[in-house]
């Protein structure tokens, strides 16, 4: 007599559960490989980084990070002899390549630029997006549908299609290579996405909440801040992540419009030149550091993000 066990028609069977788990893990591993490779490369020495066949096992070195943060100059052996013994750390690593540290590199100002521009434009886009979406959601805006469509239509073409007009315009009004210019540009690109995403979220917040607050003595603005914003937090977080990812990673405009004071990390990283070729460990080190802020930001908001990107799918 065979023993049969009743099992639910909706719950997955143990086998299905194991197979789907394996697929997810496999997919995660595959997508993690390039990332892992970048992090590994950042800890290799330049010869190891271009070794063929590629080295999976290697002796870790901080040379990439040292090279990233410094500029160095090659010296004659006689000169190096005359110097006092190097301090352990970067000094020693650089000295072993017959060079001395000449000064700091531009990476810290570039990284700061990236943070100012990406977070600044994200804040502006989400701020404008929230109040615009609220207005569209709650008030009778004349031609609301047409205006919303127009807002969306700014995303129809790739932003780079307007690169040349923007380049000429920015040069004419002096916004080229300024923080303000880049913040405004990224805000303009992101605000349409923010309006559309947030409108969906705010539409789902029953207007009775604000009405209740307004009857209880609050002004509309106050009710918006006290009641609507806390409930839109999920949507705001999700929108902020999308906006930040765009502004943080944007390359084309950054290459075109920034060269010095306002240059962000994406155009800076590929131009980290070593001696006699691309300094891959330094590039990898820059990339690794570049990943950290957005990684932290996403981790901090991940609870909201999961609920946010599946919005509409589940009713609260």
């Amino acid at each position: 007599m065979s023993k049969t066990t009743a099992h639910s028609v909706v719950a997955p069977t143990p086998t299905a559960r194991r197979v789907s788990g394996a697929i997810v893990i496999l997919y995660a591993l595959i997508t993690m490989i390039p990332l892992a490779w970048i992090v590994m490369t950042s800890f290799k020495t330049p010869p190891d980084s271009i070794a063929y066949p590629p080295k999976v096992l290697f002796e870790p070195s901080l040379e990439g990070y040292c090279n990233l943060f410094t500029t160095r100059s090659r010296q004659t052996p006689e000169y190096l002899e005359s110097l006092p013994a190097p301090e352990p750390g970067c000094d020693a690593i650089v000295r072993s390549r017959n060079m001395v540290i000449a000064g700091p590199s531009n990476v810290i100002p570039r990284f700061t630029n990236s943070i100012i521009i990406a977070f600044g434009s994200t804040f502006l886009a989400v701020f404008l997006g929230t109040i615009t979406a609220y207005a569209f959601s709650r008030f009778k805006v004349p031609f609301a549908d047409d205006i919303l469509f127009f807002i969306l239509s700014t995303r129809f073409m790739p932003p780079i299609a307007v690169a040349i007009p923007i380049f000429l315009m920015y040069r004419a009004i002096g916004l080229s290579d300024t923080h303000l210019g880049m913040i405004l540009l990224y805000t303009a690109v992101n605000v349409s996405l923010a309006v559309w995403l947030l409108k969906g979220f705010i539409d789902e917040i029953p207007r009775e909440y604000e009405e209740a607050a307004m009857i209880d003595g609050y002004s509309r603005l106050h009710a918006f801040v006290k009641v609507v914003l806390p409930q839109a937090a999920t949507g705001i977080a999700a929108t902020a992540i999308f906006c930040l990812i765009f502004a943080w990673n944007e390359y084309a405009f950054a290459v075109l419009l920034t060269s010095g004071t306002a240059q962000t990390m994406p155009p800076f990283i590929p131009f980290i030149i070593g001696e006699g070729g691309q300094d891959w460990p330094a590039v990898a080190a820059a990339t690794t550091l570049f990943l950290i802020p957005i990684f932290v930001f996403t981790i901090l908001l991940r609870k909201h993000l999961l609920r946010g990107i599946t919005f509409g799918a589940v009713r609260k």
Binding site: E211, A212, M214, I215, G217, K316
Partner: protein
């Protein structure tokens, strides 16, 4: 607490008239119910009183003060929403204290007032709970708590029991009524449920398509409907209408329906020959073999102590509420007698009740 007066209140959304020239007064401490089917304008009226909607024309007076164009925040009223609108990001204590926080009341005082209110509503054990975990009845109580904690001039409630299941609803009807007796607050309550309206209201306004069809006490509305709409909307099963042609003379004692003479309360106005309808509540219909008003039994619904017998007559279907022990077989021909002093005559064209000795003094909207 205060009296609410609505004068010639009118609200149109483009071509569509939501509320037409409404006039009514809710006396201080009265429990006033606006009753009607969905889309009749009752919620719009309530929202105009609250200040959530601005009227096209007309005036709203709260305690004698014209508040027609005041902001909601400046009116000192409380509103209980159908879905309660409890702030999901706050716990019960914060929800109830929210209106007080706005007034800038010191924390200690808010605490004391919230706890007093919670004890009053018997929800003091729930104060630190998040609102999402509350049962329907408790949510309702928290919403009420948020309304009464501020001691406003009036309470406005928009179908607050609409989402509760029947069992809870009966309980809350009792609690609301009890609450009203204890704090005697002027209350405007909107519902489409006639049972809620009948069991709670001091005064009812029955609305239909933007018009107030009748304004009066539950007894007046039930016994002396001003229009066929009211007669049909109130009562379960609703009033029966026997359609016939005839004329009405002031002081006449009866009308003839196809040869059957039916005694009626003495009319106070005349109607020339035309379409009329005789309205009779099911409980005022009896079987009477001698009656010339005859019909065929269509079916019966057994309700325990009573039964509803449906009889098809030449003038329309009549439902009679009869003692359960009376036998009525489908297909059987029966005679019907109507309790004369409780009949209402309607003008078939306008649907309005003809004034008789029975319904004098009834208020049209």
């Amino acid at each position: 607490m205060a009296e609410i007066r609505v004068e010639k209140l009118h609200k149109a959304f483009g071509e569509f008239v939501a509320v037409r020239e409404s006039d009514f007064t809710v006396a201080d401490g009265e429990f006033f119910v606006m009753l009607g089917p969905s889309g009749c304008g009752k919620t719009t009226t309530l929202r105009m009183i609250a200040g959530l909607e601005l009227p096209t024309s007309g005036r709203i007076l709260l305690g004698g003060e014209d508040v027609t164009f005041n902001r909601a925040a400046a009116r000192d009223i409380a509103f209980v929403f159908q879905l309660f609108a409890l702030y999901p990001h706050m716990n019960v204590r914060q929800n109830i204290g929210f209106p007080l926080k706005c007034e800038g009341m010191p924390r200690a005082e808010i605490r004391a007032r919230v706890e007093e209110t919670a004890r009053f509503l018997r929800i003091d054990h729930l104060l630190s709970q998040p609102t999402s975990r509350l049962a329907g009845g408790d949510r309702q109580r928290v919403a009420l708590g948020r309304a009464i904690v501020r001691r406003p001039k009036a309470f406005l409630m928009d179908e607050p029991l609409g989402t509760l299941d029947t069992e809870f609803r009966d309980l809350m009807v009792r609690e609301l009524r009890e609450l009203h007796m204890r704090i005697a607050a002027t209350t405007v309550y909107v519902t489409h449920d006639q049972l809620e309206a009948m069991s709670m209201a001091d005064k009812i306004a029955v609305m239909n398509r933007g018009d107030i069809e009748q304004f009066g006490t539950p007894q007046e509305i039930y016994d002396r409907p001003a229009t066929m709409f009211v007669a049909d909307f109130i009562g379960s099963p609703p009033m029966n209408f026997l359609a016939f042609r005839g004329s009405v003379e002031p002081g006449a004692a009866s009308v003839g329906i196809n040869g059957a003479i039916v005694d009626i309360p003495a009319p106070r106005e005349a109607r020339p020959e035309g379409d009329l309808a005789l309205g009779v509540r099911p409980e005022h219909v009896r079987f009477d073999d001698g009656s010339k008003l005859r019909g065929t039994v269509f079916g019966t619904e057994y309700l325990g102590t009573t039964q509803i017998v449906t009889v098809t007559t030449a003038h329309g279907t009549v439902k009679a509420r009869l003692p359960a022990d009376i036998r009525a077989e489908a297909g059987e021909t029966v005679g019907l007698s109507l309790r004369s002093e409780r009949l209402t005559l309607f003008d078939g064209g306008s649907g309005r009740a003809i004034r008789t000795a029975q319904n004098e003094g009834t208020h049209h909207g």
